[in-house]
């Protein structure tokens, strides 16, 4: 199947931010030099994210006949083999291939259950070439929309059942209808690319891999609601995404796709980039608008909704990157094709950023209705550590932890909500037995407390008090009454906060309390962190499984481990700071968690 008699036409290197961090830049340079040195008649180019970040850096070889060969973990040595082999004689090097098509191959399962709508052009096009996007059908949907008229397109979006991919899941068609009906000569479209959830990179990958799809979605939206201006509010932490957006906008303007009379029609539309300046709360739409207007990013009460009174008091429609990237596909393929995928209330696909303690992490796009287990086990291949998986965190600081016992939950807005988590924007962080769920709750509270804009008391003070309680629990200073207080605060903060940040901030605490209460109890009553993360509540010991390999001796930052080669190592608990570095490096599972001597001896030092 992988053999092809046609000649190699083009070699593409995956150049998203993840790829670059894994050395794709050096790979591209070496490839260019190698092609020149070997006088090979192949084109060298770049592409975006191929999703399989676990195999970065990646390289794709395209043949004249359209066949494609995908190589992962392309080291210098492997590149040399490719230059001397496949790129010279056109014969794929089976052993080095990343096997996406071979489903019996474990790595092949990474792509098997995925369905590409948003990511349909990732890895196929050079994100910096408008020609590539158009050659793959780009801007065809825009032409179709202009021909069909706003009402017809709006009906298509309504019928497709598309819901906002930013997290809340409101019907995109209805949102557009509000903005369309709003009175006003001038209207605005905003693309929310302020992907602030830690552990989420779907929007970054989309903007880096296929920026024109987002522009096309915004253009179609502008045409439907009657807007003349669009803004993309993008995190400043995403310099590559911003650079590629700038290139895409300039190309679209030069080609008559943006600006006066788009594609020769009476519709005019311009898009500007606004760089965020690092404030999580700006993901909230009214705060985002305040930020574009040059103010502190603080939300205001709704109504009026942005559809009535948005940017500079103009009717404004805000959707996130993934929502816009779905639009061209829906217009092109029809509402029915989209609605055919998914569950009764959640249609189409969802892009997830699969990360954490997972073997095959990366960007995955799955049909709605797939189970969490299928994503974690089939696509992700289970934990990278070999330890059992404990939970996945879905929806970032606004979301919650879904325990392994509920992994048969389907990816569907309502079903995920019933677990206490939320679909969110798509961050899915996998946690294994070495993750402490109390520490995770503390981590998210620290985040939301820090990012609270300070406008409402419940969020500003409530999250602070909640964080203090969680810190006491992690330090071993908490009493049982703290748990009741924590639950009460969680309830009040959730109900009395103005915007989504405060309303959802308690979710990580509530879900961990619901599913991992025993861990909280262990921290409070037994002064023991079973996962070995909370340093005040654990220490480590080396068991007979130790082979005397010296790895932990070298890894220990305080030289607390005594040992010589092939002799059982010993940890001096007086010097040990309980950082767990020894456990992280041990290949034999010989490092075990024990209660901290302060508590195990029964004397509170």
């Amino acid at each position: 199947m992988q053999q092809s008699n046609s000649a190699v036409k083009r070699v593409l290197v995956g150049m998203g931010t993840c790829g670059l961090a894994a050395g794709a830049g050096q790979l591209l340079d070496a490839l260019r030099a190698g092609v020149a040195e070997h006088s090979l008649a192949v084109e060298v180019g770049i592409t975006g994210c191929l999703g399989n970040c676990h195999a970065e850096p990646v390289l794709l070889v395209e043949h004249d006949d359209g066949s494609r060969h995908h190589y992962g973990n392309v080291s210098k040595a492997r590149l040399e083999q490719l230059l001397a082999g496949h790129l010279r004689d056109g014969q794929a090097l089976e052993k080095l291939l990343y096997h996406p098509e071979q489903h019996d191959d474990p790595e092949g399962r990474f792509y098997q259950k995925q369905v590409a709508i948003v990511s349909r052009k990732f890895g196929h096009i050079d994100p910096e070439q408008l020609g590539d996007y158009r050659a793959h059908g780009g801007y065809r949907a825009l032409q179709m929309a202009l021909d069909a008229g706003p009402e017809s397109v709006l009906q298509t979006i309504l019928d497709s059942g598309l819901r906002g991919r930013g997290g809340a899941g409101f019907s995109t068609g209805k949102k557009w209808a509000f903005a369309q009906r709003a009175q006003g000569e001038q209207k605005v479209v905003i693309c929310n690319a302020d992907e602030g959830d830690p552990g989420a990179f779907m929007d970054r990958s989309t903007l880096e891999s296929d920026p024109h799809s987002v522009l096309e979605g915004m253009l179609i939206c502008g045409f439907v609601i009657g807007a003349q201006r669009g803004y993309i509010y993008c995190r400043a932490e995403y310099p590559l995404a911003i650079a590629r957006l700038r290139i895409a906008i300039a190309q679209a303007e030069a080609a008559g796709l943006l600006g006066e009379s788009v594609l020769g029609s009476a519709f005019s539309f311009r898009i500007k980039i606004k760089e965020g300046a690092g404030a999580f709360v700006c993901g909230e739409e009214t705060a985002l608008i305040a930020s574009i207007e040059g103010r502190r990013g603080m939300p205001r009460p709704r109504p009026p909704y942005p559809a009535q009174r948005g940017l500079h008091a103009l009717p404004t429609n805000i959707n996130n990157v993934e929502t816009f990237a779905n639009i061209p596909w829906i217009v092109e393929h029809g509402a029915q094709a989209f609605a055919a995928l998914g569950t009764a209330t959640s249609k189409g696909t969802k892009v997830f950023a699969l990360a954490g303690r997972i073997k095959r992490g990366g960007l995955v796009e799955v049909p709605m209705g797939i189970t969490v287990r299928e994503i974690v086990e089939d696509i992700g291949g289970g934990s990278d550590s070999g330890l059992p998986i404990k939970a996945v965190q879905l929806g970032g600081p606004s979301g919650g932890c879904i325990p392994e016992s509920l992994f048969d939950t389907h990816v569907d807005y309502e079903e995920v909500n019933r677990t206490g988590a939320i679909m969110g924007s798509g961050g899915m962080v996998v946690m294994d037995q070495s993750s402490c769920m109390v520490d995770i709750a503390r981590y998210f509270l620290e985040f939301t407390q820090n990012e609270s804009c300070g406008k409402c008391t419940f969020c500003r003070v409530g999250t602070k008090r909640m964080l203090e309680i969680l810190e006491r629990i992690c330090d071993g200073r908490a009493v049982m009454a703290d748990l009741a207080l924590l639950e009460e605060l969680a309830d009040r903060v959730g109900r009395a906060s103005l915007c989504g940040l405060g309303q959802t901030a308690p979710n990580p605490v509530l879900t961990t309390l619901r599913y991992f209460r025993d861990e909280y109890l262990s921290h409070i009553q037994d002064h023991f962190c079973p996962a070995g993360r909370c340093r005040s509540l654990c220490t480590f010991t080396i068991t007979d499984a130790c082979t005397g390999c010296m790895l932990c001796v070298r890894a220990c930052p305080t030289q607390a481990i005594q040992g010589t080669r092939k002799q059982l190592h010993v940890i001096d608990t007086q010097q040990c700071i309980s950082c767990g570095a020894c456990r992280d490096v041990c290949r034999f599972g010989a490092v075990e968690v024990r209660p901290h001597p302060r508590f195990s001896s029964g004397v509170d030092a």
């Binding site: 830690p198 207007e293 040059g294 502190r296 699969l354 890894a555 950082c579």
Partner: protein, 172 residues
């Protein structure tokens, strides 16, 4: 702009021609607040007082508005930073993969706490919001380069190799 140039710019009188160019580009209304501060920080690597004052004098933006914005957003720095900026990602995936250990190891190697700058103004260490490279966790950015799948010793080696060969980006 590199460190030497930035230092030069920061210590000389504020370049008013440059500011006028920025005002022509971004405007003089409140809308221009964030892009103007971003431009100043891009040039000076932090927000010098003279620049802030000059913006308020030449635009309709008032000092409380400007300082309000500068102190609200995490991107803006009111204090100078070192020649090299180390941003350790504290996203969720990095947190569960040992980001704390990276901060500790770098903090020890450089002798400064999180947020601190070495006395020789070579390095500033800063734990930052998610960098979005979650599949390579734990990650950090050293100036504009991202390094992934790190541990204590690899992180410390980044600054140690940089100290011996300051003009060369470390290999990975």
């Amino acid at each position: 702009m590199d460190f030497e140039e930035a230092k030069q710019v920061a210590t000389t009188d504020f370049d008013s021609t440059w500011l006028d160019e920025q005002l022509a580009r971004y405007g003089r209304d409140a809308d221009a607040c964030i892009p103007l501060l971003q431009a100043v920080q891009e040039r000076h690597r932090h927000l010098p007082q003279e620049a802030m004052r000059a913006i308020c004098e030449r635009t309709s933006i008032t000092p409380p508005q400007l300082y309000g914005v500068a102190t609200f957003y995490a991107q803006f720095r009111l204090e100078p930073v070192g020649r090299h900026l180390i941003k350790v990602c504290k996203g969720t995936a990095c947190h569960v993969s040992g980001a704390q250990a990276l901060v500790e190891s770098l903090s020890e190697a450089l002798g400064v706490p999180d947020g601190g700058t070495t006395q020789d103004m070579e390095y500033t260490l800063s734990a930052v919001a998610c960098l979005g490279c979650c599949s390579l966790a734990p990650v950090l950015m050293l100036d504009d380069k991202t390094f992934g799948k790190l541990n204590r010793s690899k992180a410390a080696a980044l600054v140690n190799s940089k100290q011996t060969a300051p003009t060369q980006a470390p290999k990975h």
